[in-house]
């Protein structure tokens, strides 16, 4: 936790609900983010992250719930709350046939920046994301990482107090990803509140002060990483990479002594155990007895992945 006394809440939402036909995409989500805080919304694909963000940014009208940004209510029309907000959409929301500078100037104009401000801010944000030397090049010629960086730059032009990023590192090389995460860290240090959605556990761990775990539209847990791990009980995980009928084995393993729970996901079985030194040998034995061909064994101390597994009974990865 990075509590340094009471800080202003930049965003607060409560009881957000959204359904598409029979399907409830978001089901009672609520959280608050303070100035200088990075809040991670961690969940698998289809969990409801984008829907939550769309409501938070006034793009989608919630069926139920309230949203306040910068002290003003958020609505789908033009409103005061939107002035505080910078959105980095999940897709590259840029025109590929325009240059980086032309794109940013366009979005700056939409934000109502005047001519002089526009010129300095475009230069500043390009510098910030390390694209100053590519300002005059069209987006279509950029690498995935450069596009992502420019996508972020476009949300910073008007100095928002809340930056909302929807899976901003998808399809990005590790180097660009590190640069993006570092950049977000810098912004947070300057006092910006950040809402960061991801299905990469490592990103949430690395970046976020607090994390909300979302699954099937529900916020199933919230807290700092140590808080979350403590809350679900600290069980190490034995991870077996194997071929064979993994699901049946997981079912058997779940009933074995020492085992808290077990789940199978593509090509491996994850077993939460009380004490790995005592659980490991019997697990491998029974796996072999079941006819599994084991290609790897790994013992992992509890992390967000195991928290997620514990809370939802399934793995975070697709």
């Amino acid at each position: 936790m990075t509590e340094q006394g009471p800080r202003a809440r930049v965003v607060r939402c409560e009881g957000l609900r959204k359904r598409y036909g029979d399907r409830v995409a978001v089901d009672g989500v609520g959280f608050a983010i303070a100035e200088g805080e990075t809040y991670g919304l961690l969940g698998p694909n289809g969990a409801g992250k984008t829907t939550t963000i769309s409501m938070l940014c006034g793009l989608l009208h919630p069926d139920e719930g309230t949203i306040e940004v910068g002290g003003s209510p958020m609505t789908t029309g033009r409103c005061e709350a939107k002035a505080h907000l910078g959105l980095v959409p999940q897709d590259i929301a840029l025109y590929p046939d325009l240059t980086a500078k032309e794109n940013l100037s366009f979005f700056g104009k939409l934000q109502g920046l005047d001519r002089g401000e526009l010129r300095t801010r475009v230069a500043e944000v390009l510098e910030l994301v390390g694209l100053a030397d590519r300002a005059g090049d069209r987006i279509e010629g950029f690498s995935g990482g450069m596009k992502r960086r420019c996508n972020i730059a476009a949300a910073l032009l008007h100095r928002p107090s809340l930056l909302v990023l929807d899976e901003p590192t998808v399809g990005v090389d590790p180097q660009s990803r590190a640069a993006i995460l570092d950049g977000i860290d810098d912004l947070r240090r300057e006092g910006m509140a950040v809402l960061y959605t991801t299905h990469y556990m490592e990103e949430a761990e690395r970046l976020c002060d607090r994390i909300g775990i979302i699954d099937e539209g529900r916020l199933v847990a919230e807290g700092t990483q140590p808080e979350l791990v403590a809350a679900v009980g600290q069980h190490p995980i034995v991870r077996l990479a194997a071929e064979g009928d993994l699901t049946t084995f997981a079912g058997l393993a779940a009933d074995a002594p020492q085992v808290v729970r077990a789940a199978a996901s593509d090509g491996r079985v994850e077993v939460s155990v009380l004490d790995p030194t005592r659980a490991l040998a019997p697990l491998i034995e029974s796996a072999e007895a079941e006819g599994l061909r084991i290609s790897g064994v790994e013992v992992v101390q509890p992390d967000l992945e195991s928290v997620f597994l514990h809370l939802t009974g399934k793995a975070l990865r697709d």
Partner: protein, 390 residues
């Protein structure tokens, strides 16, 4: 307002970088106008003319004689002008010459004998026919005037009589031949490119607007619209900017074709008020069509994929490929119900061929305004719903 102009400016800038769009906008219309316009005289070596002979001697006889002996004319005689018009519509005739009864007597008495030409507006042969008829009339008038002098049937002094005679000859040559595009009449000879220029103008204004609907889809699917609307921009501002850019492109397209046709292909558009109002109203119609297809398409590629064939079909039905006047009456009705093209080309053609004034085409303009209102309001409502995700 800054939102509308910023969105419009970006849209136009993107268009200026789209090579395919530029080809459709700047090159293809003129290639087609030239190819189609130039094709007609080549296509019809001999012009098929129907003659309704109100008299077979005197001036009328001379006209028939001249027509029959011309190698480039194939003459058929008719009893009724309505049959001539019908056969022009059926494509069995290219033109008709209608010689009124008592023409010789009228001309002898110095009166206005009117020979009318029934013409297919797409035919370039009209100018040729007109010249032939005029020159025969000119000769005949000279003969008759000379005869009147010889018979001393004028009491004017010789000097004055000669001047009157000359003037009469000129009038006969110019004023007394009336060309009638099937359904109207005009005075001046018409450029062979006129019909195709008008038709291609209407065709391309619409086709390019529908293809341009892709940029509306892109704004939605890229997330640009979402980003904009998470800031101080509402759907109305985005829609306004996109509609404005479609409109401006269509106005540009129309004006460009009008100018090039007039300068390079010698097209006389007739009343400027008709030309200007048709361009402006049809640009609104086109902008509405572009917004509509931009709202309906789910991917950017769908806009041209559905829009271009649709625009071509509407153009074909609406008389942009062949004159609607030549089409069967039932099709003319369908064309007018389903396409704004029919009304727009009709207004332009009336201006070019019939010397119509804006008052004559007010109905066309009102219908175009109606189509514009329909397309625009439907497009805006649907696009707004799409942009607002609800």
């Amino acid at each position: 307002m800054t939102v509308v102009s910023a969105v419009c400016a970006v849209d136009l800038r993107r268009l200026s970088r789209d090579k395919v769009a530029l080809f459709f906008l700047l090159v293809l219309p003129f290639v087609l106008i030239f190819a189609i316009g130039a094709a007609f005289p080549v296509e019809s070596d001999t012009v098929r003319v129907g003659v309704v002979a109100g008299e077979t001697t005197g001036v009328g006889g001379a006209l028939i004689e001249a027509a029959t002996s011309s190698k480039s004319l194939e003459v058929t005689t008719y009893d009724d002008v309505r049959e001539v018009v019908r056969d022009i519509r059926l494509g069995e005739l290219d033109a008709g010459i209608v010689i009124p009864e008592g023409l010789t007597r009228t001309v002898e008495q110095g009166g206005e004998g009117e020979v009318s030409l029934e013409l297919d507006p797409a035919q370039r042969s009209s100018a040729m026919l007109r010249n032939m008829v005029s020159s025969v009339l000119e000769d005949q008038a000279l003969v008759l005037t000379a005869a009147r002098f010889a018979q001393g049937r004028t009491d004017a002094p010789p000097q004055e009589a000669l001047r009157v005679a000359e003037q009469q000859v000129r009038e006969l040559a110019r004023g007394q031949v009336r060309s009638i595009t099937v359904g109207g009449g005009t005075e001046a000879p018409v450029s062979g490119f006129a019909f195709t220029a008008a038709a291609q103008m209407i065709l391309f204004m619409f086709i390019n607007a529908l293809a341009g609907g892709a940029s509306l889809v892109e704004m939605r699917t890229t997330g640009v619209a979402d980003r904009a609307m998470s800031g101080p921009v509402d759907a109305g501002g985005l829609i306004g900017g996109l509609t404005l850019s479609r409109f401006l492109v269509a106005v540009f397209q129309g004006s460009l074709i009008a100018t090039v046709a007039s300068v390079a292909f010698d097209v006389d558009w007739g009343a400027p008020a008709i030309l200007v109002s048709v361009i402006l109203l049809f640009a609104l119609v086109s902008a509405g069509g572009g917004v509509l297809i931009g709202a309906l398409a789910r991917t950017p590629d769908q806009a041209p994929a559905f829009g271009v064939p649709l625009a071509l079909a509407m153009a074909a039905l609406g008389g942009c490929f062949f004159p609607l006047a030549v089409a069967p009456p039932a099709m003319q009705v369908v064309a007018r119900v389903l396409t704004p093209h029919a009304w727009a080309t009709d207004a332009l053609v009336s201006g070019v061929f019939d010397g119509a004034t804006i008052v004559d085409v007010l109905v066309n303009l009102a219908v175009l305004a109606g189509f514009a209102a329909l397309f625009l309001s439907l497009g805006v409502v649907l696009l707004r719903r799409r942009l607002e995700h609800r």
